[in-house]
């Protein structure tokens, strides 16, 4: 994957996660494993038609893949690879060096530290 693809992937993940219904669908697939649109409609307070529409968007973003289930029904499986790409973006935001370096500066420059050990 080239860099622009990485950014596009992360953006699709964030767009997908911005919608509460899609988050609920992904959470259901993560906790319960692969499921059909009908299975999901039985577990979530959403119509099967709405679920099918959201699953199509999630498949487009690469977050779920369609596979052949029993009796020729299409099952959707969670695909976490794009989320790992988005996680790298979040990791950079979460690293908080500003907070850590402030703590280092405060630790070294507090008056007691200049006079030696205070522990």
């Amino acid at each position: 994957m080239s860099r622009p693809d990485i950014e596009a992937t992360a953006e699709q993940v964030f767009v997908a996660l911005a919608d509460p219904t899609r988050r609920a669908i992904l959470a259901a697939l993560a906790s319960g494993g692969p499921a059909t649109a009908t299975d999901l409609a039985g577990r979530l307070p959403i119509t099967r038609q709405a679920i099918a529409k959201h699953l199509a968007l999630l498949a487009e973003a690469g977050l779920v893949t369609a596979e052949q289930g029993e009796r020729r029904r299409v099952r959707y499986r969670l695909r976490s690879a794009p989320m790992q790409v988005a996680q790298q973006f979040l990791a950079a935001l979460a690293r908080d060096w500003d907070g850590s370096l402030d703590a280092l500066k405060v630790h070294l420059e507090r008056p007691e530290a200049r006079q030696g050990d205070t522990k």
Binding site: M1, R3, I6, E7, A10, E11, R79, S80, A81, Q84, V85, Q87, Q88, F89, L90, A91, A92, A94, R95, W97, D98, S100, L101, A103, L104, K105, V106, H107, L108, E109, A113
Partner: protein
């Protein structure tokens, strides 16, 4: 959307490099400002670890030790699964600045992805698990 690969910060500290070095590279120093419980084997290839009150832990691998100028280590990328091999590299550089120290920290590698190998390996793993579990189910069905 900008996807940062590296974070760079500089801070001026009113203490000489030797003192800053001790705060960065000793268990006592690290536990005073960075993690809560810290341990470190200060040599290239040595391991270091920190723990926070939140329960979060960090395991580091020491890469560069050039007292009192450069200290570098790699650690796990926050948020990725424990067994994910990708790591970011953190390097502290200490420069004398008057009676104090100019400390620069650079953490790089957030945007790393081993090209197509990532997708291939990952999808391969996913398929591997579903076939392994399928075999387990088959085995249990036969045994029952």
């Amino acid at each position: 959307m900008a996807f940062p690969d590296r974070i760079e910060r500089t801070v001026e500290i009113a203490h000489p490099p030797a003192k800053v070095w001790a705060a960065l590279t000793t268990a006592e120093g690290l536990s005073a400002w960075f993690g809560k419980d810290a341990a470190i084997d200060l040599r290239p290839g040595g391991t270091a670890s920190m723990r926070w009150d939140s329960g979060h832990t960090a395991d580091m691998r020491v890469e560069r030790v050039e007292e009192p100028v450069v200290f570098g280590f790699t650690w796990h990328i926050y948020g990725l699964p424990e067994d994910d091999p990708r790591r970011t590299y953190v390097e502290f550089t200490l420069e004398p600045a008057g009676a104090g120290t100019r400390l620069t920290v650079v953490e790089s590698g957030f945007a790393q992805l081993p090209e197509d190998a990532f997708r291939t390996a990952y999808d391969g793993n996913t398929r591997g698990w579903s076939s392994e579990l399928g075999e387990l189910v088959d085995y249990l069905d036969v045994a029952a």
